[in-house]
């Protein structure tokens, strides 16, 4: 299912890295380093504003002006979805998939479990991203790009926990990562 997608990455690694780097440079030249995670809070803030206006008015975070409007960042996220959709269509890789090859190898492909793990992972991702004031693009790439101090502790725990959890959750490598391929 994912074979064709996995075996032949659309771009060689160096071209991919340069492409992403140039996008980041463009973003820094035009507006600011790219960031994704804050807009999830903005979306929730919008909902809360309608559902519980007095709670959101007294909330120290939601009463902040930048969480109240759909601005550049919001449209940036919409753009990511749109661009990814178009690119996937263009590359003919748009396909409904539920499990990844690593998951299949380690957990015998129960779809429901994968979705539950995905949900829990999503909660942790955003919680972590907001605790650290930015997701991976924003804080790891952007942080090192700007040589900010906060990038150091972030990098340490991000990759420490990432590798640990990946080792615990995906102990076995799928066959296609072996050398004889």
């Amino acid at each position: 299912m994912e074979k064709s997608n996995n075996r032949t990455p659309p771009l060689p690694w160096w071209a991919a890295g340069i492409l992403l780097g140039l996008v980041q440079v463009l973003a820094i030249a035009l507006v600011k380093p790219m960031g994704v995670s804050k807009q999830f809070v903005v979306a929730d803030a919008k909902v809360l504003e309608h559902v519980a206006p007095e709670y959101s008015d007294n909330h120290p975070l939601l009463s902040d002006e930048q969480y109240k409007k759909f601005g550049y960042g919001w449209w940036f996220n919409i753009g990511i979805v749109l661009g990814a959709f178009l690119a996937a269509l263009h590359l003919r890789v748009w396909k409904v998939r539920t499990v990844s090859a690593w998951w299949k190898r380690n957990h015998d492909a129960p779809v429901l479990l994968r979705l539950i793990a995905g949900f829990c992972g999503g909660v942790l991702l955003l919680l972590g991203a907001r605790f650290a004031y930015g997701c991976i693009t924003e804080h790891f790439i952007g942080g090192w790009t700007q040589l900010s101090l906060s990038a150091i502790p972030f990098t340490i725990t991000l990759f420490g926990f990432g590798m640990l959890v990946a080792y615990l959750v995906y102990p076995k490598a799928p066959n296609r990562f072996r050398r004889e391929e």
Partner: protein, 415 residues
């Protein structure tokens, strides 16, 4: 520029690049975290280095819009841990999760829904948990150069070194493209075509191992040749940059230049190009002529040694491709010839024959004496730039040509 439409366009570009680079595939991320598949690691390293370099250049022109995150060590540590856990569990980061959901992954879609819930949890716990935590170990929005009081270059150089090291380490595990070609070539040749290229002297069982050995050696030579070319290129660029720094008066020439060559400077002449010397875009790195002198000297040594090695590598590459009958000899001869000319041009002839002959490399003393003599007439000006830039451009052109010819050679033999 932070209008919605710019955001939308940037988002489209970023989302499309995420799909194009294949980072939306969670298998790549998990493979990277499990250190089995280095594709994503290498992308991220290049991504980081390119954006760092680009930001540096933007910063030179004052066009970079920084947004430094507050360094609240404790929450950043917790956040990194949570984010890492989520990343290791799902194989998505917030950005790739969005893009991946848009390319049809249901698990990514669920992750995005999870992220919306995560945002909600964050809002709920913000007043009671996050605000107290934010007060602990809060250093504010600072950068590493600010905290250590050093220049940004001092930080960027080791980061580049680490990045290159990572790229170097992860390189060996990947099956190399050339080796694939060699293997494919061998297995293709062995049963079907017993005698490759209709060779005369080498044949049968003895010839094939020799040919494949020669191909492997040629690959090694090619790799080293490219490395030496890069070093040579960087050194030449550095040398030219130094010249422009001095000639445009960004770096003033000190009065007591003990530069080896006999340079006699008048006091008022030396004082004439005195401007605010540490230019703003050197990140407060106090660039004095003494430092430039040592840079130029080291660069000269590296250039001359590298050019010797470059010529030798090309020579041995030619020998290997001759011995193994790999072809591409005409390209290699051209490259070798040009590399020899480069070598001859680069040698500091001035040291042997005095001012009548000079190489493309220059000593700091020479630079100082040229820059401090008052050039008013057109001829002197032309000579000045011809000597430092024209000569350099000639060497650069030859170097690029040599590299191009040897690239054709590599292409011919690895075909």
């Amino acid at each position: 520029m932070s209008t919605p439409i710019v955001g939308l366009i940037m988002g489209v570009i970023f989302g499309a690049s995420l799909v194009l680079t294949g980072l939306t595939n969670p298998d790549k991320i998990i493979g990277a975290l499990r250190l089995k598949d280095f594709y994503a690691i290498r992308i991220v390293v290049v991504f980081l280095l390119v954006s760092m370099l680009g930001t540096l250049i933007l910063d030179l022109f004052g066009a970079a819009n920084f947004s430094i995150k507050p360094a609240v060590i404790l929450t950043v540590l917790i956040g990194g841990a949570l984010l890492g856990t989520g990343l290791g569990l799902t194989g998505f980061s917030p950005a790739t999760g969005l893009a991946s959901a848009a390319s049809g992954r249901v698990d990514a879609l669920v992750t995005v829904i999870g992220m919306i819930f995560g945002a909600h949890v964050y809002i709920l716990i913000y007043p009671s948990i996050v605000i107290p935590l934010e007060k602990i170990l809060n250093f504010g929005s600072v950068t590493l150069p600010e905290i250590t009081g050093t220049s940004a270059t001092l930080w960027i150089v080791p980061i580049f070194a680490v990045g290159s090291l990572i790229l170097f380490i992860t390189r060996s595990r990947e099956p190399r493209y050339d080796e694939h070609r060699i293997k494919a070539g061998n297995s293709g040749i062995n049963p079907a075509f017993p005698v490759p290229l209709g060779s005369i002297s080498i044949s049968g069982e003895k010839g094939l191992p020799l040919k494949s050995e020669c191909l492997k050696a040629a690959c090694v030579f090619r790799r080293w040749k490219n490395l030496l070319f890069l070093v040579l290129l960087l050194c030449l660029l550095l040398l030219q940059g130094t010249f422009w720094l001095v000639s445009t008066g960004q770096v003033e020439i000190a009065e007591n230049t003990n530069t080896g060559m006999t340079v006699v400077l008048d006091a008022d002449q030396a004082a004439a190009p005195a401007k605010e010397s540490p230019s703003p875009w050197l990140f407060g790195f106090d660039m004095t002529f003494e430092r430039l002198t040592s840079i130029v000297r080291i660069t000269n040594i590296i250039i001359v040694l590298t050019s010797v090695l470059y010529v030798l590598i090309l020579y041995f590459g030619m020998g290997v491709s001759f011995k193994g009958e790999l072809g591409g000899l005409s390209h290699m001869c051209g490259a070798l010839y040009m590399a020899l000319i480069i070598f001859v041009l680069l040698l500091p002839w001035r040291n042997f024959f005095g001012p009548i002959a000079m190489g493309a490399t220059y000593t700091p003393g020479e630079l100082a004496s040229w820059c401090t003599t008052d050039i008013s007439d057109t001829l002197g000006m032309v000579l000045f730039y011809l000597r430092f830039t024209g000569y350099w451009a000639l060497v650069m052109l030859l170097l690029l040509l040599a590299q191009w010819r040897s690239f054709r050679w590599a292409k011919a033999i690895l075909r």
